[in-house]
Symmetry: C2
Subunit: 270 residues, 2 copies
C-alpha cells in the first residue's frame, strides 16, 4: 500500500531557471506517465557565477520546497548546483536525490577512446572539478580538460543559436579544447544542448558530444525501476511549473527550450 | 552642529553588482574628499531580467542596509533599479535619494538637436519606459526609441570589450537605432560605458553618447552643495565595499571597471 502511494507521487526537478527544461523534456520522453513538478529559481538565476556557499543555500531552499510537495525522487537538473551542492542535499533525505554530473560522467568515460575528455560549463561547475572527480573515479587514466563558457547561456537565452556571433564565441572557447585532441566533450550546462549545432560544427565530427540531460533521464528511469516506484497510471503524466520570479519570461524562453507551448506556470514567493 | 555631523557622513551607493563602479569612479573624480560606502548585490545580480516586484523588493533591502550605515545621500547606481523602484525607495526617507535616469535624461534632452534620442539598457529598464517618461517630461517633442541589449553585460563582464564578437553584437542591436536617425544615445546601463569604443565605432561620430554615470556624479555634487553637506575634510575620502556574494569575482571584474586595484571589499549575508 505504501509503495502504491509512492508510485503515484510526482518526480521533482529544480534548476536555477529554464535550463533544466532540457532534462524535463528527456524525462517526459522516457517516462511519459510520470507527473512532474518543476521549480525554476528565476529570482536568483544564474547560479554559475555565485560562490559555493550561496549555491548550497539556494539549492537547499529549492530542495525543501519540492520535498514539501511530496515528490518521490528529486532531480537536480542544474549542473552548477549538482557540482557544488549535491552531497549537502543528499544528507538527511529519505528519497533518492540525483544530479546531472554522475550520469554525464559515466557516459563520457564509456565513450572516450583516447581517454581525453573535455568538459564545458559555468565558472562554478568548472572550478568545482566535479566532472573531473566523477570521471576519474570511474577511470583514473582519463584526462579531463575544463573550459567555462560564460557567454553560452546569454546567447541561448537570446535565441542566438545559429548566427555569426555564436559561431565566433564557440570558436573562441572551443578551439583550445580541440587543440588538446579531446575525443569526447561533455555539455556540462543545461543550456548548451541548444547550441549543439554550432558546437558540433566547430569541434568537428570526430568528437562525441555527451548531453547530460539524456543520461540523467535514463538514470531516473533506472532508479524508479529499481525501487519499484514507476507510475502505473495508464494516461500521460501532468506537469506543474513553479518559478520564483517573472513567469512571463520563463514561458517565453522555456518555449524555445521545449519547442512547444508551456502551460501550468505559477509564480511563488519565498 | 547637526549639519557638521552630516557633512562627515558617507555617500551610499548600491548596484546589483559591479556595474555601479562606473558611478563610483565618477564620484571619486568629482568629489575626492567624500567617504563612500558601496553595496553590490552580487548574490542576486542581474536585476535586468527580473520582474518589477522583485526589483523593488531587492532595492528596498539594499536601501535599508545603506541607511543603517548612516549615509547622507543615497545613489541608486543601477539603471534597472532606478527605472523601476526609485519612487518606492524615496517614500519615507529623510535623506536625498537619486537614481541615474533623471540625470541622463536631462543631459540627453539638452544635447539632442533633431529631437530623436535612443536609449539602450536591460530588458527591465527599456520595458519600464522610465527614460522616455523623464525625457518627455522635460521636452514632450523628443521622440525616444528604446532597445534592450542583453548580451552587453556578459560581454563586458567577460572583458570582451573590443573584439569581433562584440562588434557584431553591437551592430545587431544598434543598426536599427542608427536607421531611425537618432542624434543622441543614452548608455542606460552602468556596464555599457565599457563598450563605448565599439558603440562609438558602430553608431558613428554624428551621435552624441550620454553616460549617465558622469551626469549622476554632477547631480550628487549639486545636491551636496545645495544642502550644504559637502565634506570639509582636507584628506581624500575612504571607501568601503560590501557585496552579498563572491567578493573574489567582484574584485576581479571590478578592477576591469575601475582600471585599478580594488581594496576594502567585504562579504555580508542578508
Amino acid at each position: 500500500m505504501v509503495k502504491i502511494e509512492k508510485m503515484k507521487r510526482p518526480i521533482g526537478i529544480f534548476d536555477s531557471g529554464v535550463g533544466g527544461l532540457t532534462v524535463f523534456k528527456e524525462l517526459t520522453n522516457l517516462l511519459p506517465r510520470e507527473d512532474i513538478i518543476y521549480l525554476g529559481d528565476t529570482a536568483r538565476i544564474p547560479y554559475g557565477t555565485r560562490s559555493p556557499k550561496t549555491i548550497i543555500k539556494y539549492s537547499l531552499e529549492n530542495t525543501k520546497f519540492l520535498l514539501s510537495q511530496g515528490i518521490k525522487v528529486l532531480v537536480v537538473a542544474c549542473n552548477t548546483s549538482s557540482a557544488v551542492s549535491l552531497p549537502h542535499l543528499q544528507q538527511e533525505n529519505e528519497i533518492p536525490i540525483l544530479g546531472v554530473i554522475e550520469p554525464g560522467a559515466r557516459r563520457a568515460s564509456e565513450v572516450t577512446q583516447n581517454k581525453k575528455v573535455g568538459v564545458i560549463g559555468t565558472e562554478a561547475t568548472v572550478k568545482s572539478r566535479a566532472y573531473e572527480r566523477a570521471i576519474q573515479g570511474i577511470d583514473p587514466q582519463i584526462k579531463v580538460v575544463g573550459q567555462h563558457c560564460p557567454l553560452f547561456v546569454p546567447l541561448a537565452e537570446e535565441g542566438w543559436i545559429d548566427n555569426q556571433v555564436t559561431r565566433l564565441t564557440v570558436q573562441s572557447y572551443l578551439l583550445p579544447l580541440r587543440e588538446k585532441m579531446i575525443d569526447t566533450l561533455v555539455l556540462g550546462c543545461t543550456h548548451y544542448p541548444l547550441l549543439e549545432g554550432v558546437i558540433r560544427e566547430i569541434i568537428g565530427d570526430g568528437v562525441c558530444l555527451v548531453n547530460s540531460a539524456k543520461e540523467t533521464a535514463k538514470e531516473v528511469k533506472r532508479i524508479l525501476d529499481e525501487e519499484d516506484i514507476t507510475s502505473q497510471g495508464d494516461s500521460n503524466g501532468s506537469y506543474k511549473f513553479y518559478v520564483t520570479d517573472n513567469a512571463e519570461r520563463f514561458i517565453k524562453v522555456g518555449e524555445i527550450f521545449l519547442g512547444r507551448e508551456l502551460k501550468g506556470v505559477e509564480e511563488i514567493e519565498w
